[in-house]
Symmetry: C2
Subunit: 135 residues, 2 copies
DNA sequence: TTAACTGTACTAAGGATACTAATACAGTTA
DNA sequence: TAACTGTATTAGTATCCTTAGTACAGTTAA
């Protein structure tokens, strides 16, 4: 399902969190869609269920998914996300990255075009094989 | 000198790296200016010299400072920085942060104004108490 | 009800990493 | 020479990640 770097200094559960965030943000997995179960995914990736669980717990606390005992874990619908805390964190990340990028030689134009690129590939753009995916 | 969170999960030396990057980027410390010595800073902050050294080693490998045995550590002049590797890393950071920000509800306009803000406070803007700081 | 699935919680053990500590060597400067 | 600087090494402790095993609770279908 994913390609993880088991030898990375970055913890597996954090890599999982990032991967899932990316899939959710790019709407590869959509609202209320079921995520693989903790045990299934653990078996598939030959890592411990506890590690998956830790990733899911983190995703839930960040508002990206919700879990129902006995049923499974599901992608949180868009509107209910965006806790104030998470927003502040992301803003800080953004500031740091932009500052560093500018310092390392990227121009405002470079950054703007990157912004453009992402903006298209995320919310507004790709309606690929579904013309109006209303539920 | 800084406010560090000794209890954070983020290693002290990484916090130091970030702080120094920020100071260098904002030109609070300028090119060829001397950084506090490993031992002095360690004494001031009541942490181990080795931790400071680790931070300095990291900053040097990223091209932000240079060190001279017996003399000290100094801010690297602008032009010589910007290794291709670092640029790629920053671009990835930027992409992730922008995607997440958009997803959490920030608009392009929000991000643009943040960009504007940073752009002013970095290279072009503040020439505060020095009118033309030519060395 | 039963069986098989789901999430969740807990304890224990190992391995890796961060940090501290102490010491040593080499170059610079007054 | 003395006091500063960076750099390197070794060792011990603490913390975190990951695995492993077990257990409990809710859901679903036979």
């Amino acid at each position: 399902m994913f390609d993880l770097d088991l030898r990375s200094r970055k913890p597996i559960y954090e890599q999982l969190v990032d991967k899932f965030k990316e899939l959710i943000i790019k709407e590869v997995i959509q609202a209320d869609e079921k995520l693989p179960s903790v045990r299934t995914l653990a078996r598939q990736m030959t890592i411990n269920p506890n590690t998956i669980q830790k990733a899911y717990r983190e995703l839930e606390s960040q508002g990206y998914i919700y879990s129902l005992k006995g049923k499974g874990s599901f992608v949180q619908a868009f509107s209910e996300k965006a806790s104030q805390e998470e927003l502040i964190k992301v803003k800080e990340k953004l500031k740091a990255a932009v500052s560093e990028a500018l310092y390392l030689g990227m121009t405002r134009a470079d950054i703007e075009s990157l912004l453009q690129e992402i903006d298209e590939s995320t919310g507004g753009g790709i309606i690929d094989d579904k013309t109006s995916g209303s539920k």
